[in-house]
């Protein structure tokens, strides 16, 4: 009888042991899958495009997700001291782009933004470039602005706006804000030009009808007239 009890005890132990091993194996597999998923998300692939290549957006340390949330308000100054608030562009699609003078990929996409800024002006698109490295000095920032040919507003960050937008562990970082003030798309790292244009179109299409400021309305009308004249 004792032998039977001992045997039952041993069998029980073996069952527990095997169960634990199976559980550990399953847990290991799950962790590996999650790690692979995280690695995949962080992976940066270079995608050739029209002779030049650009990397896909990276998620490395990209902080809290802002998509679907109201874009945090800010009032910052331009290089020439003018105050600019996000609320100045209420009712319009806005691309809020954080960049820095030491960031190579940032300087690649800035001329693209300039191009899109002109291309989608009729749809009310505004682009705000927020320089994340104010300590570099206005001269250094102005030098990059000149070199990249950017004419949209360049704003000097105040330390608070970076926190409001999630801490910015990666540059470039862009937030596409629709007419209702909601972040439609958030990107970290350099995307392709096509991806940027797709995001702009999505932002323009989102958030209901545009309510353009009078000055913009005039510009839109003028642009429309020019286009019509060109068509003739």
């Amino acid at each position: 009888m004792d032998d039977v009890k001992r045997m039952a005890f041993v069998v029980g132990l073996m069952v527990v042991g095997i169960s634990l091993m199976l559980w550990a194996g399953w847990h290991n597999l799950r962790e590996r899958k999650l790690a692979m998923q995280r690695a995949q998300e962080s992976k940066v692939e270079l995608i050739p495009q029209g002779g030049a290549a650009a990397g896909g957006p990276t998620s490395e340390g990209d902080g809290p997700k802002m998509k679907g949330k109201a874009a945090p308000a800010f009032t910052l100054t331009t290089l020439d001291g003018k105050k600019v608030s996000l609320s100045d562009y209420k009712g319009r699609p806005v691309l809020v782009n954080f960049w820095a003078t030491w960031c190579g990929p940032c300087k690649v996409e800035m001329p693209w933004f300039e191009e899109f800024h002109k291309q989608y002006a009729a749809q009310g698109l505004e682009i705000l470039g927020l320089a994340d490295d104010v300590d570099a000095g206005k001269d250094a920032i102005a030098k990059v602005v000149t070199k990249t040919g950017v004419t949209y507003p360049i704003l000097l960050t105040d330390g608070k706006v970076q926190t409001a937008y999630g801490g910015l562990e990666v540059l470039p970082m862009s937030f596409y804000v629709d007419k209702s003030g909601t972040v439609v798309v958030q990107t970290a790292g350099l995307g392709t030009k096509d991806e940027i244009e797709t995001n702009i179109k999505k932002t323009i299409a989102s958030g209901g009808a545009a309510s353009l400021a009078p000055s913009v309305s005039k510009a839109v009308v003028a642009a429309g007239m020019l286009q019509t004249a060109g068509a003739r």
Partner: protein, 161 residues
């Protein structure tokens, strides 16, 4: 026979528990920096001009600007060391960087460190164990994004005999 079965079962349970514990304790921690310092204890001749090597490792897929980057706008890698008793240190010697271009900007050549790079610290030290505290300031990028400048605290350990 029963005893053997008992031992096997015990080993299996212990093994499973150990494996499970290993999984729980597995390092899920994301590296906080892009450069690590490998503090290797070194031995130099006491009272003689010697060189202590400071070995750094840049994370795979990343690069940092060299000490002499190609543009004034880029942030150079700079080491700062605190004075230490019994150690007379001269200016550190930085390695030369390697040329690097972003694929999207092939014409612009950057001067960077990737993989392992060694900064040399010339010293004359008195006999004994020494610790030099310091920090490495650097700014890293990968192929599509850049990361804010970081400061890595370091502790250089060596013995003069």
């Amino acid at each position: 026979m029963n005893l053997r079965a008992f031992v096997i079962a015990g080993v299996m349970v212990a093994g499973a528990l150990g494996l499970g514990a290993q999984q729980f304790g597995g390092s899920d921690a994301k590296p906080k920096g892009y450069v690590t310092f490998a503090p290797e204890p070194q031995v130099v001749k006491a009272g003689k001009a010697s060189v202590v090597e400071l070995r750094f490792q840049v994370r795979d897929g990343f690069h940092v600007n060299s000490h002499t980057p190609s543009s004034e706008l880029l942030i150079p890698t700079v080491i700062k060391l605190q004075p230490a008793d019994g150690v007379k240190a001269a200016e550190v010697v930085y390695p030369a960087g390697t040329k690097f271009s972003f694929s999207f900007e092939p014409k612009e050549k950057l001067d960077v460190y990737t993989g392992t790079f060694i900064i040399k610290l010339p010293v004359v030290a008195s006999a004994g164990d020494h610790t030099v505290e310091g920090s490495l300031h650097y700014q890293a990028c990968d192929t599509a994004a850049c990361y804010p400048p970081k400061t890595l605290p370091i502790q250089v350990l060596f013995t003069a005999k």
